[in-house]
Symmetry: C2
């Protein structure tokens, strides 16, 4: 089975190095319009896409150079404004609206990414945005929450496809398959090997920090508990500031 | 600007009526494989896709007939199993892991949908799954959460494109544009009109229930506060049962 859409999806690579070339506003309009054509719950479009292409702004708050950033916001503020004009009650501040709108925001952003890739642009998702305060940076009002961020630009690298777990680890049929330990070991064998293939020097440096395998490198290193806790505090702050409530049961 | 990928994205329609034809497992494998090629935070694939194509199971819990359902789960259980085998601490139970994995799950599911549409299948997202108990239905273990559900099948309808808000309402440049009341009225004018265009009989019936416009039809009808509250209770229950904590600050 083969077609240009499948080709595009199967060949996704995150691009983290871009040329200095800009993306013109017409092109940004085309790809974000593709975003707005994604499915949306109740046809309510509980999201916004904020495009930032001003280089000074981008340099101030981005970890890498890109031609543009697209921030997908959970956004029930716009519908609140509409409801107010129509004397209709607003209760889109609960976990249901938050998660459904998060979903809407992410598929609109993902459509934007796929559209960008289809015309030869490169993209990388930056997950950390969900714990950042976007109120100042882009003037996002109450009942908005930064669901996702994508950087876009003209690719200045051509990385290989990243490995993934075998499909049988991720795709289940009929019911969730709870794996045996041997299955888990087999699924993660290639990832485990990336640790053993490091240079003796690198491994010695990691061992000195108490890190003896790839899994520990993840949970004690880049994704350690302190980082998770700090990010979670940012998320909870963002929910509170936005006015989304009810997650505590 | 035109290409087959943009065509596919711009022509998305939710399909809610399917023929009785099945989707073979090879095809289900191709489209879910496209799902696994979506970007994923830290290359950790914090999600699972559960494909259900058994007609008896589907009839028992679905609101409409479809050839198959794909459930996207937030899933940090699989990595927990790997971490345990490697004596690595597990702390992927916090809002950071939950939301990042929710994002991962949704873009994997969205890739699956786009792949399905590219080969002529139809799809519809069912948002309500996030508040349902999937433990029994598909045997989903701890640290999993139903992020999304899609029904797939061969289309037995050809609906027109649904209207959307004008792009200027949804896509912002540089900063979030807080609209004036007149802008809000203009953006929602087409939607407001759908109420006025109902038959006199239908409008009279709605008015008898205190519903005088389209916005009230949404917030007092299908998306009323009781429905939001019930769904939110299901979400909070699902988070608690799965072991995801920390949203309460």
């Amino acid at each position: 089975m083969e077609n240009p859409v499948l080709d595009c999806l199967l060949n996704h690579r995150s691009i983290r190095r871009f040329t200095a070339d800009p993306i013109d506003r017409e092109t940004l309009g085309v790809i974000t319009h593709a975003g707005t054509r994604a499915a949306t719950a109740g046809n309510l479009q509980g999201y916004s896409l904020v495009v930032v292409d001003d280089q000074k702004t981008l340099e101030d708050w981005l970890p890498l150079k890109a031609a543009a950033a697209v921030i997908a916001l959970v956004d029930t503020y716009r519908m609140k404004r509409w409801f107010e004009l129509c004397d209709a009650p607003f209760h889109f501040d609960k976990p249901s609206s938050f998660l459904i709108s998060f979903w809407d925001a992410i598929i609109a952003l993902h459509n934007t990414v796929i559209a960008a890739e289809s015309i030869g642009l490169g993209a990388v998702y930056i997950g950390g945005v969900i714990s950042e305060d976007m109120g100042e940076t882009i003037g996002a009002p109450e009942y908005t929450f930064p669901a996702g961020l994508v950087l876009l630009g003209h690719p200045d690298q051509n990385p290989p496809l990243r490995p993934r777990l075998p499909d049988e680890a991720v795709v289940h049929y009929d019911r969730y398959h709870v794996p045996t330990d041997d299955e888990v070991r087999a699924w993660y064998a290639d990832i485990d090997r990336t640790f053993d293939e490091k240079s003796d020097e690198k491994r010695a440096a990691l061992r000195a920090k108490g890190i003896h395998n790839r899994a520990q490198q993840i949970t004690l290193g880049r994704y350690n508990e302190a980082i998770h806790s700090e990010m979670s505090t940012g998320i909870v702050d963002n929910l509170r500031k936005a006015g989304f409530t009810g997650f505590s049961g």
